[in-house]
Symmetry: C2
Subunit: 196 residues, 2 copies
DNA sequence: GTCTATAATGGGATAGAC
DNA sequence: GTCTATCCCATTATAGAC
């Protein structure tokens, strides 16, 4: 397979993304320098600018990429023909599983909103809102069909998102529970929260 | 009332804390400079160092102060003679109320852990764990007395903390719901989550 | 207790050689 | 596509005048 004409080094590009995600998740966007990233990648700082116009765009691309992946992965998972309770179970399990698999990307997407320029922030906020709206729609469907009952659909949505996303703050792979059990426990908690 | 001998300017000290909390919550510890803080306070940068030995200590004091206040405010609120369900209601309502009243301090306490030196991090982590242990103890009491039932006390604790703390990410004072209603809705969701 | 001035270091980004 | 060298500016923290 010939390399695409005019393409830049795909391996280096990928490594920059991995290293940037790791360092930014650990120390924060503002605390990580382009020099640190270059050193961890194994290149000099000037080389980074063949892959990103600036540091801000590097962050923005990481966040957009992650949120677009969440979105498309959920759209591929959503059992749209099923009832609201079954879809809610799919959502809760998907959210926990996906977030446990990508804790660093999740961390950045939630923590570095304030590091974005206003223009980039608007894009990312829209992506986040679109995803959260998917959950809210399921809850409202369930209410209409009287198979889900919550005091307030909007608050229940935000409470669920907060509860599910929080798993990344405490879960450890070498801990007492494996991912499957955690996924199951979170769904049982969620189900009781919204049950008729 | 005479000013304590040898004391530094109490008003300036307090203003530094307020300004630092506001700026760090908005932009992040690493992104805020001592110059920015000094300008917002209305002094020159050198003056700040009469009140804090360095920037790190300024952050650490903000976080410790907040967590100690959470702890002592809860200890003063906890209806220790009541049953587990009543105490859980007190906890949930307290947590939502306290966090809605201090969104910036909460934000910093959860987001800037990575900006602390290892020594300072250990202190803050201990304070956080102590507070979370209070909730877990209530849930375990409730399980023992068979008035609370959850799949796993530890996961339920973290799920509750995540759910309740998340309120600060979406609540707006000029929004649809006032604080009292939000507090009530969160408690209803929590109660269903842990009910027998 | 606050100021001005400065030391010492590191930041993002670019130019031009190879 | 990566390197070296550099520009220019911001950073934390301190010294010493007032």
């Amino acid at each position: 397979m010939a390399r695409t004409q005019g393409s830049i080094g795909a391996e280096t590009h990928e490594k920059i993304r991995e290293v940037a995600e790791e360092l930014i998740a650990a120390h924060g966007y503002a605390a990580v320098s382009m020099r640190q990233i270059a050193t961890a990648v194994g290149v000099q700082v000037g080389a980074l600018y063949r892959y990103t116009p600036d540091k801000q765009t590097l962050l923005f691309d990481l966040m957009r990429n992650h949120l677009e992946q969440v979105q498309s992965a959920w759209d591929a998972t959503d059992p749209t023909d099923a009832g609201p309770v079954e879809r809610l179970e799919a959502f809760c399990r998907f959210h926990v599983r996906f977030h446990l698999d990508r804790p660093r990307a999740v961390f950045i997407a939630y923590m570095e909103l304030r590091s974005l320029t206003p223009e980039n922030y608007a894009v990312i906020e829209t992506l986040r809102n679109t995803y959260e709206a998917r959950l809210e729609a399921i809850i409202r469907d369930g209410q209409d069909l009287r198979v889900i009952r919550v005091p307030d659909a909007r608050v229940a949505t935000m409470a669920l998102i907060g509860m599910l996303t929080g798993v990344t703050t405490w879960y450890r792979d070498d801990g007492r529970l494996d991912r499957g059990r955690v996924e199951r426990i979170y769904w049982r908690l969620a189900r009781r929260m919204v049950k008729v």
